[in-house]
Amino acid sequence: MLFYILRRVISAISVVIVTVVCSFLLFFAAPHDPAGVICGPKCTPERLKDITNSLNLDQPMVEQIGLYFKGIAVGRDYTAGGVTRHCDAPCLGYSYILGVPVTDLLARAVPVTLSIVIGGATIYLIFGVLIGTIAARVRGTTLDKAAVGTSLVIGSVPYFIVALVIALYATFLPRSQYTSFFENPIQWAGGLLAAWLCLGLTNSAQYTRYSRASMIEALGQDFTRTARSKGISERRVVYRHGLRAAMTPVITIFGVDVAYQLVNTIFTERIFQLPGLGTRIINAFNQYDLPVLMGGVIVGATVLVVMNLLVDILYTVLDPRVRLG
């Protein structure tokens, strides 16, 4: 087990390194003048010189990448407006446009995005699994058909329509805003409620369908018949034997899905005006803020890789048949 995890961690780290190198090349080796782009619209010749010097843009590519990695590992210095600032490790660069280290900027955005996704995903996982399981138990009845029908309708409504409906009709919800959980948990939850509902509602449809299909399959298995033949209650047959088997694939999908949600909250953040990763990246995109964009790509890739690793480890815990070697 330990060896397996170690192997997976090493391969995860290599994926992130490759991502850093690729995005670095993409942003800095392109046939444009990176210093000019980074400098932004209010560029002065001194500023341009600062940038060229602190990013060593006149040095060979390999050296620049090396410095970038050094920054991630131990931090580095940037000069802006004649002042030299230290950017602490892990330093993902410096935004000359906003005048802050990229790491600080993203570190403030990540908790927002995490909060949105954790809340939303909890809602859709619980609702989806609950409704799906009940539908599977009463398969073929009106209740089941209603659940399947509703999930089909919700699943085919575009996300922004759901968001719009929530914004227009759910006016009783607290105003959408972000407060740190550690500052005020109640305000935290209240301010995110609208975003959670929107994310939860649109995605629960899909989880209803997964869980229903998975549960129907599990209840049709031979081991379910064996469980019934033991003389245990039907509840226990369904919720212990059936659900345990049905949830393994659903949880696996969930893990990968949450990773995907984390790097795709742009819509939710924009609609509900929450200052998360997505908002930051869109802003950076509009301002050609290359260092921030690059930091965003690296954080996104790391999130995906880490979540995938977690899912794989979780899977080996959930399914004892998965042999590790």
Binding site: D222, F223, R225, S229, K230, E234, A245, D319, P320
Partner: protein, 362 residues
């Protein structure tokens, strides 16, 4: 049989225990009907099945695929879904009526009075629970004991079914067991509550031949120890000869012949049973030609009139008055021997067997 390979019956080496007349039946199935309403119509999987089985006896149920062996046995444990199955008749186990039993009574009955071993131990055990957890669950469903006591019982049962090192094995998952070991574990689970009725639905079909023999021995031994009644469903007449006291031959959802094993394997009375014997390869070991019974099993949606076997029976024209097509024969004694019954209009079937069928047998 059409889609299964059947092995020849070995000569009956074991002397079946003499039938004690008037021995009280532990399992009594009377006029059992099981139907499944489907979009195409009613599937009549079991149509008027009756038999009785006392304790300490093994009944083998044989018959083609689809003849209703599994469906009728699952009804004994009340395993059919109430909403999509229509059941009538009576199944009495130890005096309790199972047909129409409440869900609550079924809970205390299943596993305790009657237990079942299924064909494929791989799919019949839950892949995510340890063997010990699965056996313990069965035990605790019927015994109010601590987890530790239940686990000790599970280890004990695993030892009894011949699993080496049971105290270590008890914490392993089914995938860590070989096929034969898994079936042993299934047997341990079925017997953990000392049920007086054990139903084994083709318990050795999924196993290789040497393991099959071990499992058969095990079931026979355990039956002796536990004194239970055993219903053993199989396609393999070789297995029947080895393990059974009685045979019930099923065709199209009904019993067509019933009696002691040595008589039915030695001189069956029903043309379908003759077909079964003829369809198996020569015992001598030299592979001879197979003679599958011509025709195909009856449609359970539209059963033939009269005798269900008549469209495939070469003797139907021997019976006068077109009876085979018009009148369903009763399951009654057809010879002087009252201990065996058959569902066929043919006169003097024992003579027909001796003069016409026996010489043809491989």
């Amino acid at each position: 049989m059409t889609d299964q390979t059947v092995r020849a019956p070995q000569t009956v080496t074991r002397t079946p225990r003499a039938r004690a007349e008037g021995e009280e039946a532990y399992l009594e199935v009377t006029d059992l009907h099981v139907q499944f309403p489907t979009a195409d119509g009613k599937v009549q999987a079991v149509q008027g099945l009756s038999y009785a089985l006392p304790l300490r006896r093994t009944l083998a149920i044989v018959g083609e695929s689809g003849s209703g062996k599994s469906v009728s046995s699952m009804a004994i444990l009340g395993l059919h879904d109430r909403k999509s199955t229509w059941i009538s008749g009576s199944i009495k186990v130890g005096g309790k009526e199972v047909v129409g039993m409440s869900e609550k009574d079924l809970m205390s009955y299943r596993g305790a009075d009657a237990a079942m071993i299924f064909q494929d131990p791989q799919s019949s055990l839950h892949p995510f629970f340890t063997i010990g957890a699965q056996i313990t669950e069965s035990y605790r469903a019927h015994h109010n004991v601590s987890k530790r006591a239940a686990k000790a019982r599970a280890v004990d049962m695993l030892g009894r079914v011949g699993i080496p090192n049971p105290s270590r094995r008890v914490d392993q998952y089914p995938h860590e067991f070989s096929g034969g070991m898994r079936q042993r574990a299934m047997i341990a689970m079925a017997l953990v509550n000392d049920p007086k009725l054990l139903i084994a639905d083709e318990p050795t079909t999924a196993l290789d031949v040497t393991v099959q023999a071990q499992i058969l021995d095990l079931i026979a031994d355990l039956q002796r120890d536990f004194g239970s009644a055993v219903v053993f469903i199989t396609h393999d007449l070789g297995v029947v000869a080895e393990i059974a006291d009685d045979i019930l031959v099923m065709y199209g959802g009904n019993a067509v012949e019933h009696g002691p094993v040595e008589k039915i394997l030695g001189s069956p009375l029903h043309p379908y049973s003759w077909g079964l014997l003829e369809s198996i390869p020569a015992v001598s070991g030299t592979p001879g030609p197979l003679h599958p019974i011509p025709g195909s099993p009856p449609s359970l949606l539209a059963m033939p009139s009269g005798c269900a076997f008549h469209p495939r029976c070469e003797f139907r024209d021997r019976v006068g008055g077109d009876l085979c097509r018009t009148l369903k024969p009763e399951l009654i004694p057809r010879t002087a021997d009252q201990g065996r019954t058959s569902r066929c209009h043919l006169k003097e079937p024992d003579k027909v067997f001796e003069t016409e069928v026996l010489p043809r047998l491989p």
